[in-house]
Symmetry: C2
Subunit: 375 residues, 2 copies
Amino acid sequence: MKTESNLKKEEITSHQKTVYRNFPMVPRVVFGQGSFSQLGEILLPKRKNADAPFIFLIDDYFETRDLVAQIPLMFNDKIIFVSADEEPKTAQVDALVKMIKEEYDEQPSGIIGIGGGTLLDLAKAVAILLSNKGLAEKYQGWDLVHKPALYHVGIPTISGTGAEVSRTTVLLGPEKKLGINSDYTTYDQVLLDPDLTKTVPKEQWFYTGMDCYIHCIESLTGTYLNAFSQSYGEKALELCKDVFLEDIPDEESRDKLMMASWHGGMSIAYSQVGIAHAMSYGLSYLLGIKHGVGNCMVFQHLEEFYPEGVALFKKMVEKHAINIPKDVCANLTQTDFDVMINVALGLDALWENALGKEWKSIMTPERLQALYQKM
Amino acid sequence: MKTESNLKKEEITSHQKTVYRNFPMVPRVVFGQGSFSQLGEILLPKRKNADAPFIFLIDDYFETRDLVAQIPLMFNDKIIFVSADEEPKTAQVDALVKMIKEEYDEQPSGIIGIGGGTLLDLAKAVAILLSNKGLAEKYQGWDLVHKPALYHVGIPTISGTGAEVSRTTVLLGPEKKLGINSDYTTYDQVLLDPDLTKTVPKEQWFYTGMDCYIHCIESLTGTYLNAFSQSYGEKALELCKDVFLEDIPDEESRDKLMMASWHGGMSIAYSQVGIAHAMSYGLSYLLGIKHGVGNCMVFQHLEEFYPEGVALFKKMVEKHAINIPKDVCANLTQTDFDVMINVALGLDALWENALGKEWKSIMTPERLQALYQKM
């Protein structure tokens, strides 16, 4: 889950009284095989006028695929294909916003993100920045967005990140990898069509699904958990086990993984991720390693923290014959390690969730470096 | 679940192509023990002005209890205590709306329902009727509400009905018991504080919890189910089993039953209830039997349709030493039976979900009467 920061530490206990987040849920959702064909009908009442376009941000993987013909374009609507090869960046958001503002006199009717976590996060950020002034980096943090985002619709084409349901959009900024966490980040509408995930390459399917699985293990074993998040997390975990350890028909598997991602994303309402996510942030900040892959590279070495979760994970890796990249930290300098360690240890809430309030005495920079050196 | 009609039959297949409902979710939710103390803070930004009150509709059970002192009253806010002894009626909604309109020149800032299914359904209906003209009965059916309801907040004090999350409000009208099913029915905000259910009397706790359990059995074994609803229904069922068959601490039990009700309500997005709910509607229409009790009276006799579900149900009844009312149909006339049978068989979607498209050849009026005669 690209959700390092859905819960502020201060929100857990303030003035010695528990204060619970008033969590924003996606107010509209369609689920069903083939439901993508309903997109036009869903967007129609949201068109402000013929000059206010819908902007479709789509993973460029689909540029040559059938899906494009099914996009319900009208008037001056625009498709922008975006590469998901790299993690989404604040500068990329700023460039997209500038391009849209220059091309249109009117505010768009809305933004539709179609793709994986990268595209879903970009679309959220673009919708926010089209109605909030300044650069994207200014909003990285907690509740810094003060005006509602443009109407935005999320349509996942791969399952696992939970970006379709979370209240954050994690961006790589000039100084940090951090989410724009706000009530306005959440999508106004989500369309869940498991058929869209039919063409996902196997490795990507695995790594992205593991984002959900690892998140569930981290949140369910964490210190922040309550009954709300637990119930969602348990269901997501159960679905992940069905998908990655059982032999179920492809169609059922796609349905279930899409629901796992959905429930996994909901489970962070009152929970938090943990060590694998914190360390994976370091890897992607320094080395540009994609979030899902980074999680797996880290998680396999975390037996001492998540014994059962790691054991099951190894079964999944074996069953699907996945080769997790090795030796990526082999040639790093001490300065490199320091950068990664700083990024990872900066995520207080994740460590506190995993190891409790005294986490700093448990996870020292030296111990963290030793873990990175295994990778 | 008081949700006989969340899914129109026509929505399942139209023009031989599946059309999926664009389901409205509650856009804001707080969950946590003691979270009721946050209500004032939640309402504050929703106040239109000092003359536009919040109207609190509260189960009169709380009239003499501590909860009342915690209601965050300001300016000319008003508390209206309502008896939940009878199922909510359209005439009752009309009377409440009239009273509010006569007392205030301004539209209220919002309606807050605090109580069980009856209060939650009443508050939804009052919020709708304050912004839509005419009598409540006019809106019983599917998607007949055309203007957004007033801002409305649901706060359950007993768990099981799912009314806090559903898009219907089931009302007894002059001619029918039927929901106001619409996208505007869903609450704008829900506050889930398991502590509020501490004082629920045991029998009521059981019957209302069984509303959730029976709903889950009906939807999970139904023909309408898809992966979305299945995942919610399975989790709700699992939580019900923990609560009613295991020996878990009270606090955990309250947390879990509140989440069971929540997920159970979500599970009807793409599913439907079945035979017990259809028959229970007949009982409550003719005899005024409360929904939860009626469900149990019926469900115990449905082994042939739900063998595993009924077997588990009987274990729960035994474990908690519940005496389900008997012989309520002993002195009914044939006209009485005909009324109940008409009400029950009028709910096509429930029967089709339970027994398939050919349900009319399976559940004849004679067979249904024989079932009622067991009660």
